[in-house]
């Protein structure tokens, strides 16, 4: 019987040098453009300091920033690393029973649409002022979104695949690990990537409210004393934490989820 063959017209996409060079050009243009623009128009430093000044000031004040940077890095990483298994395990638990999915999904949505950072002020009340407790904020901010996406993946498995598992007599655990979980991996990773974004927002917001430590606190302090160059430096550092985490997750995803383009 004749099979339909997909048409291959353009050969497989490869690593295009354009995709590396073009962004670097943008960066260079942005840097030089800003540098010239800000100097020519004499833009006040509190609006936007020149990139060179930002880098210089950040390097010279780095010994002040470093402890806060490490603190925020720790909070985000620890919180994020707890939120991932927490979200996935909760989703795995719910997905075992149809009724639990129906019952819990709206609750998870409730937790997603209500920003958990609203609990920051109360956290201080409940747990005291130890800055390390900000990990909890990161966890509760990131877990629901990871859980929601994972649950979505767990509950949308093609019936054929489940029937295949049953036909070879796979146990419940085997079915879950090798079919349901593998099948849901793309969604799991989407959830984790979103969780990464939620983590950084949670950490910075917690710094803003609870103060005393962290890059968020440092930004407020620098701004208060008109050290705008350093403020921007801190923002860039936070951005770097965010993009690094995201990139790491993406790299792991590419390694694991090979079947996705």
């Amino acid at each position: 019987m004749a099979q339909s063959t997909p048409v291959r017209r353009t050969p497989k996409k490869e690593r295009d040098p354009k995709r590396i060079i073009a962004p670097l050009v943008v960066l260079a243009v942005l840097y030089i453009g800003l540098e010239i623009f800000l100097r020519v128009f004499n833009v006040a430093a509190y609006v936007m300091p020149t990139p060179t000044h930002i880098i210089q000031a950040t390097i010279s004040s780095f010994h002040i920033i470093l402890p806060d940077f490490l603190f925020t890095l720790k909070i985000i990483c620890v919180g994020f690393c707890i939120a991932i298994p927490a979200g996935i395990l909760l989703a795995a638990l719910f997905s075992q029973f149809d009724i639990l999915v129906k019952a819990m999904q709206p609750v998870v949505i409730w937790l997603v649409i209500t920003p958990m950072i609203t609990l920051i002020p109360l956290m201080t009340l409940w747990l005291g002022t130890d800055p390390n407790l900000r990990v909890i904020i990161v966890i509760i901010q990131a877990t629901p979104i990871i859980c929601l996406n994972t649950l979505n993946g767990f509950t949308h498995v093609e019936r054929e695949k489940l029937e295949l598992a049953r036909s070879v007599g796979a146990s419940k655990l085997q079915t879950f690990v090798s079919i349901i979980f593998m099948n849901a991996l793309p969604q799991v990773f989407t959830g984790i990537k979103l969780g990464c974004i939620f983590s950084t927002i949670g950490a910075v917001s917690a710094d803003f409210v609870s103060r005393g430590q962290g890059l968020g606190d440092r930004i407020i302090k620098f701004t208060k004393y008109s050290n705008f160059e350093e403020s921007y430096g801190c923002i860039i550092l936070i951005a770097l934490i965010g993009i690094t985490l995201y990139t790491v997750v993406e790299m792991i995803e590419k390694r694991i989820v090979l079947w996705k383009k």
Binding site: A2, S4, V7
Partner: protein, 267 residues
Amino acid sequence: MQEAKIKFDHVTKIFETRSQTITAVKDYSMEIQAGEFISILGPSGCGKSTLIRMLDGIIDTTEGDILIDGVKVNHKGKKMPSSVLRKLGFIFQQPNMLPWYTVRQNVALPLRVFGLKGPEWDNRVEELLEMVGLKEYADAHPNEISGGMLQRAGVIRAMVHDPEILLMDEPFGALDEMTREQMNMELLEIWEKTGKTIIFITHNIEEAVLLSSRVYVMGTNPGRLVETVTLDLPRPRKLSMITQKDFIEYRQLLESYIGEIDLSKIK
């Protein structure tokens, strides 16, 4: 001599990437007269899809000319003008319906794009829907009807702007055998009624013999014309003919060409 409706004059298409150069079609020439039904037959990867995509202005040519009614239509880097595209109707391997439009809106899409308005065109849409039995499904969305019906909609979409030439890229390849046979017969009927020029791409030998007056056999690596076979079989063609002696001989002849290609590939 009568001027060819469609002429490929030493057409070559080369895809280039950084690491490799692929010659999809090499030095291809053919002439098709108005009202002919011809097939292009070949294994996958022989460039037959590339060929009709070049004719329809979807892909640029690298070398050579394509002429319709004696006028060169391929101009590198330039969109094919609407006046040329209006002469062409393209039928894809999949129905390729836009799921947000109803069947009727999908069928009428070329009219919207070409800017053809008026009651005569609206009537044409209805007539075509009627012709392929989709009248009562006209307001359904594509996901609500079967694959066979969708492909029928695909066929009449390509005909709605009344093109002179139909380009068919393995149009029924995604359908089951029985629907496919039925569709082939319907297609022949349409062709006999309207007298359109049809270029039919397929990798199915039987289909090629059953439908067309001439078969162009293509080979791979690089994609090229191997042989042209004129089929001297009576019309109208019928499904029952596939068991007749002439038919079987033509089939075996074409099989031998395709077989040679496969052997050359192994070497």
